[in-house]
């Protein structure tokens, strides 16, 4: 797979969801010291919201990776990363979620054969609040998983350009 378009084609032919879930599990285990596991999305009444971090991918693989959780879960994630005394400030919570999203995106692309230096990540962006509509111009494959952090769901979505 040597051309830039081949990765977009592969996203249709190969099942990348387990790779995305593994990349997420590793980030949680190594950087937050806790385990997450995929859950059945049909058991989820609504998509978790409140904080949404986004990282763009460009080059051989184009698209956007988002990581969403509710406000309380976001605070717990920041506490896991920073310790209980330092993680109450909103900007630190946003920063923590942005880094988690960034590491999942990086870990995911590093696990894909063929990206070798031809896929770049943007710096993370974090949206606070739930009353917004999100529309990516990515028109290709969409991978989505919901994972349980304790009893709280976190959603990871990767939307790719075709």
């Amino acid at each position: 797979m040597s051309t830039d378009t081949s990765l977009a084609v592969r996203s249709h032919e190969e099942n990348w969801l387990p790779i995305l879930e593994l990349a997420t599990e590793e980030v949680f285990e190594i950087m937050l010291g806790c385990r997450v596991k995929p859950m059945d999305k049909s058991e989820l009444p609504t998509q978790p919201g409140g904080f949404t971090a986004m990282v763009g991918l460009a080059g051989a693989l184009c698209g956007i990776l988002t990581f969403s959780s509710d406000r309380e879960t976001a605070r717990e994630l920041a506490k896991c990363m920073l310790g209980p005394e330092t993680a109450d400030a909103e900007d630190q919570i946003s920063d923590a979620l942005g880094e988690i999203c960034n590491m999942i995106a990086g870990n995911f692309k590093n696990k894909l054969a063929g990206t070798d230096g031809r896929c770049m990540l943007s710096v993370p962006t974090v949206i606070k609040g739930e009353e917004y509509t999100f529309r990516s111009l990515a028109d290709g494959e969409s991978l989505e998983t919901v994972m349980l952090f304790g009893n709280s769901p976190v959603a990871i979505t990767l939307q790719l350009h075709s």
Binding site: A78, Q92, V123
Partner: protein, 128 residues
């Protein structure tokens, strides 16, 4: 190896704290930690005070980590200071670029304190 002064360069304040904590967990005795949010801030900080070790992200606004490493030799008090990159960019291409620019080590995020120890201690030993 005695107490060291470290410069941690990352646009995420959370990640700067995690890197500092990992250095301490790796048994590295820190006298002082200087923080910078991008390469330009790091060059300015180095102009004010020397350090013994630099840990640097790659993807940052204003000036990225590779450009920062390339510009380091222009500072008198930064010559010979080891730089270890800590980044999500894990491709061979990025590693080669970083090492060619002058970095002495490369750690991929996510990382454990043991990995920090494994990559930082050898470059500090060589320096002393």
């Amino acid at each position: 190896m005695g107490k060291i002064r470290a410069l941690i360069v990352d646009d995420s304040s959370v990640m700067r704290k995690i890197v500092e904590r990992s250095l301490r967990q790796a048994g590295i005795d820190l006298e002082k930690v200087v923080e910078a949010g991008n390469g330009a801030e790091a060059l300015a900080a180095l102009g004010k005070e020397p350090v013994d070790l630099i840990l640097c992200d790659i993807n940052m606004p204003v000036m990225d980590g590779l450009e920062f490493v390339r510009q380091l030799p222009t500072l008198d008090n930064a010559k010979g200071v080891p730089v270890v990159m800590i980044t999500t960019e894990g491709s061979e291409n990025h590693v080669v670029q970083a090492l060619s620019a002058g970095a002495r080590g490369y750690i991929r995020k996510p990382f454990t304190p043991d990995q920090v120890k494994e990559h930082v201690l050898p470059v500090m030993v060589k320096k002393s």
